[in-house]
């Protein structure tokens, strides 16, 4: 939640309720790294997980999820959800590669924005629950993309710029990581320093009250969905750059981890509260967890169990939700 400057100053020395998830998940990241390192020390005799190369590589891969999660967080803060992420990512990537050339990235972002706009209009103006409307939009996007790929032979190769943004490095730092950082700064500023950001929290808490306070609630909802869609489109374009091409189903692996990252980061799934820093750390947690499980050659069954358990345990540790007594 937002607070006044003098209060933030005070909060710096006090662990507020919203800081707890952040500290906890940061601590858990260390646990994951420790466990993974013990494993690699035992099997390889090296502590590769602690090397800057490994960590940077993870952050680079994490950037795709991180960008999606940033958008998802905006929507979740509103008390909504965007289930159209998978095919928004794929559509962004596919249209970017289809168009190619200098327009590739703008088109990728534009497609995401357009999907977000449809989602936003459906949720804000038709007032269909986002859970179900975005689900329908996801199905439509999938249909469009199947028709698109089947209909004629689209170019699917990523442009050089897309590849550079996804895998390039400046002074050893992956460009993708910088893109993620830029997105993070924008989202953080948006949430903490702008009227739109405060309105997002207000709507997430009590839409009727925000509406009666003259907040342009519909507009804010549409804007948040647009941003979420656009970030998914951006992630899709980067992802296409990373794999040098777009392919069907490329977004499937991002929906649930994005929601999980947002929630592990302390954002309330019903909206209204949560800090962006938490989402950031949640993403890193999920990426490292996946990587370490993969390194440890955990079979799929074990992974699923661990994945689910981690979410539950983290949320239990954060402190249980409020009981309804008043």
């Amino acid at each position: 939640m937002t607070s006044l400057p003098q209060d933030t100053a005070r909060a710096r020395f006090k662990l507020g309720e919203d800081d707890k998830p952040i500290v906890m998940s940061a601590a858990f990241i260390l646990v994951i790294l420790a466990v993974g390192t013990v494993y690699t020390l035992y099997t390889q005799g090296t502590a590769t997980l602690l090397s800057p190369e490994y960590l940077l590589q993870q952050l680079q891969v994490g950037a795709f999820l991180g960008i999606v999660a940033a958008g998802m967080m905006l929507v979740i803060l509103l008390g909504h959800i965007d289930l159209s992420i998978p095919w928004t990512i794929a559509a962004g990537a596919m249209m970017a590669t289809t168009v190619g050339g200098p327009m590739a990235i703008p088109v990728g972002l534009g497609v995401g924005l357009l999907v977000g706009l449809v989602n936003g209009l459906g949720v804000a103006y038709l007032r269909i629950p986002s859970m179900i409307f975005t689900l329908g939009v996801n199905a439509v996007m999938r249909g469009l993309m199947v028709a698109h790929t089947g209909g004629f032979a689209p170019q699917t190769a990523a442009t050089d710029l897309m590849q550079y943004l996804a895998v390039g490095k400046i002074l050893g730092i992956p460009v993708a990581l910088m893109v993620w950082a830029a997105v993070s700064i924008i989202v953080m500023l948006l949430l903490q320093r702008t009227a739109v950001g405060k309105s997002i929290y207000a709507i997430g808490n009590k839409e009727a009250a925000a509406y009666l306070a003259g907040v342009p609630t519909r507009w804010v909802i549409v804007a948040a969905f647009c941003l979420c869609g656009m970030l998914a489109g951006l992630s899709g374009t980067l992802l296409a750059g990373y794999s040098t091409k777009a392919y069907q189903g490329m977004g499937d692996a991002y929906l649930l981890p994005a929601i999980a990252a947002v929630v592990i980061g302390g954002t309330h799934i019903l909206g209204g509260r949560g800090r962006y820093l938490g989402t950031l750390i949640g993403v890193i947690l999920i990426v490292l967890l996946n990587s370490v499980l993969s390194i440890m050659q955990m079979p799929e069954s074990g992974r699923q169990v661990i994945y689910g358990s981690v979410i539950i345990v983290m949320l239990l540790v954060y402190g249980r939700g409020q009981k309804v007594t008043s």
């Binding site: 939640m1 937002t2 607070s3 006044l4 400057p5 003098q6 209060d7 909060a11 500023l189 320093r193 702008t194 009227a195 405060k198 309105s199 929290y201 207000a202 808490n205 009590k206 009727a208 009250a209 925000a210 509406y211 009666l212 306070a213 003259g214 907040v215 342009p216 209204g272 509260r273 007594t325 008043s326």
Partner: protein
Amino acid sequence: MSTSPSEPAQAHVQLTGVTKRYGGVTALDNVDFACELGSVHAVLGENGAGKSTLIKIMSGVVQPDEGEIRLDGTPTSFSHPAAANAQGIVCIFQELSLLPDLSVADNISIAEPPRRFGLIDRKAQRRRAEDLLARIGCEDVNPMARVRDLPLSRRQMVEIAKALAKDPSVLILDEATSALTSADVDTVFGILRRLREDGISILTISHRMHEIEAIADKCSVFRNGRHIETFAQGARSEGEIVQMMIGREITAHFPPKPPPPEATKPMLQLEKYSWEGKLKSIDLTVGAGEIVGLGGLDGQGQKELLLGLFGVLKGTSGTITVQGKEVTIASPQDAKAAGVDLALIPEDRKTEGLMLPMSIADNLTIASLNRLSRGLFVDQDALTAAVEDGIQRMQIKVGSSSDPVSTLSGGNQQKVVIAKWLMTDPKIILLNDPTRGIDVGTKQEIYRLLRSLAEAGASVIYYSTDYEELIGCCDRVAVMYDGEIVRELKGDEINERNIIASALKMDEAAE
């Protein structure tokens, strides 16, 4: 443990040394309190005095940190409301506890539904609802209707029916009459008197003195979580009671009205303003510096008029002229835009006025963020200053402005709602029953504030269910009946007799 012998009189429920803290706030501080069978016991106190907390403890909603509860001398503790209900303690809470999606009949029998073969017997449940509704004079309510579809006053009556269905030995009403029309209040009081004769103990909380005078046998005054005094009704004058409640003496109830102004320039003009058959061709002019009251029975379209003006209703017709310019108001944004400058203090602060879990500061500034922004960003210094100013101006009792607004008492929450709108410098202020559930002291502050706003040139439209307020506060009162303004009262015409007469459409008789 209390060492004093339990009172010889039939102290049915007795609290000894009860303390309840919410974080740093001590809501109840070492309270001794008892209520007897066969009497109506009123609990008085300003907002935040701990009245609701007291009854929440008695009815098992919250548990005391210290102290004990005795029921007929036996120590008991209630871990949840059902446990208290089982002992005959039934409470009608300040926040309604009806289930809006269930039918009236379902709601009335929610706790102990009649059953057949272990399943709920819907026919029997319906008959029971019909009986109870008839008993409280609400035959017009269809037991099959969803509660959501009822107006607030009917819901309140259903709530009372629901409490009666539990056959209480102690019936607690926490401001249960605050949303009722005076006719309904009379019905309810009739029922309460009968219950008293049946030997039931009744505990009631109300901020309306005249109601307490009408019904109570005994009064207890609370202040700052402490039980100040219990006395027989009538043993103390109103002034003494008020002094006990707020710790100081109050002189006049309402600020003095200025002399009727000479034809001020009109701030707001409505012509043939209509909506969906609930507002019928309303013509109304409100001048600058004028406080216009909306009177009439509850549910005659007063609320719709305010909501319509504020852009919430779709499909309104007629013209609205603000400061000489005709405007269309299609949303609250339009309403608060420059040149229109409306503000609405909504009916229900919990769901329409506040984002409860958010901070006081966030709630105060939400309506004026656009003013506080410089370029894309919110100006943090301006924001801090605005928050401090708002808290000062309305004298809001806060610990820190970053605390959730939900931690404030009802009255202070209402002040936050008002302060939020004052920050936008409104020219026309619409108030929808703003003193509901507000203590006398705060009420007075609000009256004074309205008057000073009017004196500064703003217009106020004030809807209240309390005639006294209309009489004491307003320069003019428009009485509504079935979506129409049936009469406008000015100056000395504003009196209870005229308001009631017009509200019941007995104009001729009143002349």
